[in-house]
């Protein structure tokens, strides 16, 4: 049976349609998760083009292997797990550990830095509110960027994506105790970097 709309359809059900090879189901899964996945990857690699390539690689890998999805797990966990693996592999290859919200750490010229920068626009805020919001966001982004990649993934999954410790352990393929330690240390480091926020 074909749904008229996927609005009220669960991820698991959309996956079933995707497993039948339905393009609209694939598009729905991309629509639901392109921004969370891209955001997680961008916050880990801090480069627009690289994040896009890695996000694309993630979705291609997941959707081409959709038959291997096990419905006892959350689809989003499986997706984030693959995104994290691909990103960590990339970071290990490239050893990119520092970031700038203004642009890629690899940017050599100002033009290149602008080209790789992310512009976040928001609606409904006054220019002052938007400026403050952006400044706070930029501080947070800079602080996250100073963390080790493993800490970044854990803290983002915990505080941005609202995953439980168990789910994070499953996603990043680390023991539960290690995940708790990473998150604890990441919080400590963020406290130090963002002292004036307290």
């Amino acid at each position: 049976m074909t749904p008229k709309s996927y609005t009220d359809v669960s991820d698991q059900q959309v996956v079933v349609f995707a497993q039948e090879g339905r393009e609209d189901a694939y598009r729905e899964l991309i629509k639901r998760y392109e921004r969370p996945v891209f955001s997680l990857i961008y916050r880990m690699v801090r480069d627009n083009e690289t994040a896009e390539d890695l996000a694309q690689e993630t979705f291609i890998k997941v959707l081409n292997n959709i038959d291997r999805y096990r419905p006892e797990f959350k689809f989003s966990s499986w997706l984030f797990k693959i995104a994290n693996n691909i990103t960590i592999d990339h970071l290990r290859r490239r050893q990119i550990d520092t970031i700038s919200i203004e642009g890629s750490p690899d940017a050599i010229t100002a033009e290149r830095a602008r080209a790789t920068a992310v512009t976040v626009t928001s609606g409904g805020e006054s220019p002052l509110e938007e400026l403050e919001s952006r400044e706070l966001g930029a501080q947070i982004e800079r602080a996250i960027a100073k963390l080790r990649p493993e800490y970044r993934a854990c803290i983002i999954l915990r505080h941005v994506e609202d995953y439980s410790y168990d789910e994070i352990a499953e996603i990043v393929k680390l023991p539960l105790g290690t995940v708790k330690t990473y998150i604890h240390r990441a919080r400590q480091e963020l406290r130090e970097y963002l002292g004036d926020l307290r």
């Binding site: 955001s39 979705f59 928001s122 505080h159 941005v160």
Partner: protein, 172 residues
């Protein structure tokens, strides 16, 4: 909302973390992913979904847009059927066509799907996939190329028929 499992002094930071916006990839992200997914069937019932975008990602450079050519085989089949039909009709109108030719034309129409599939593969092998993609794009130049091919086919068929007719006369 996750449970509160951290010290009070982390609360404002946690609040800021939760307020971090999602960032969006480029607009053609889904298309680029879909173009590289195997085993797809065309969409049915649900219109292609376009994500609402409150957040925009500034793209500094040009993005290579890979267009999907879904339904290319169907279009090719339809064109083949129409082409064969036109050729058969022209053959009936301008030549004394025999029953065998009519049957062959009908068979070609019936098996157009298989012929188109094989033809597409052979065409990709001989002409290259870029040329095939160009032909499927339906540009004016492609139409002219189709017409040239059709005229060539038609002319070749006519020449063979004429040669056979002359040979038959001489033999008689």
């Amino acid at each position: 909302m996750i449970e509160h499992d951290f010290d009070e002094d982390f609360v404002p930071i946690a609040a800021e973390l939760q307020r971090l916006p999602y960032l969006s990839p480029s607009r053609d992200f889904a298309d680029r992913v879909i173009s590289r997914i195997d085993r797809l069937q065309p969409a049915q019932g649900v219109a292609p979904v376009i994500a609402s975008r409150h957040l925009e990602l500034q793209q500094g450079g040009q993005q290579a847009v890979v267009r999907r050519r879904g339904g290319g085989l169907v279009r090719g089949t339809a064109k083949a059927v129409v082409g064969v039909g036109l050729l058969a009709a022209a053959a009936f109108m301008f030549f004394e066509i025999d029953v065998l030719t009519a049957i062959l034309s009908a068979a070609a129409s019936q098996y157009a799907f298989a012929i188109a599939a094989v033809g597409t593969q052979l065409g990709a092998l001989v002409l290259g996939s870029e040329t095939i993609a160009f032909l499927q794009a339906g540009a004016l130049a492609a139409v002219l190329l189709y017409l040239t091919l059709a005229v060539g086919l038609f002319g070749g068929y006519a020449a063979i028929r004429t040669a056979a007719h002359i040979a038959k006369r001489k033999a008689a």
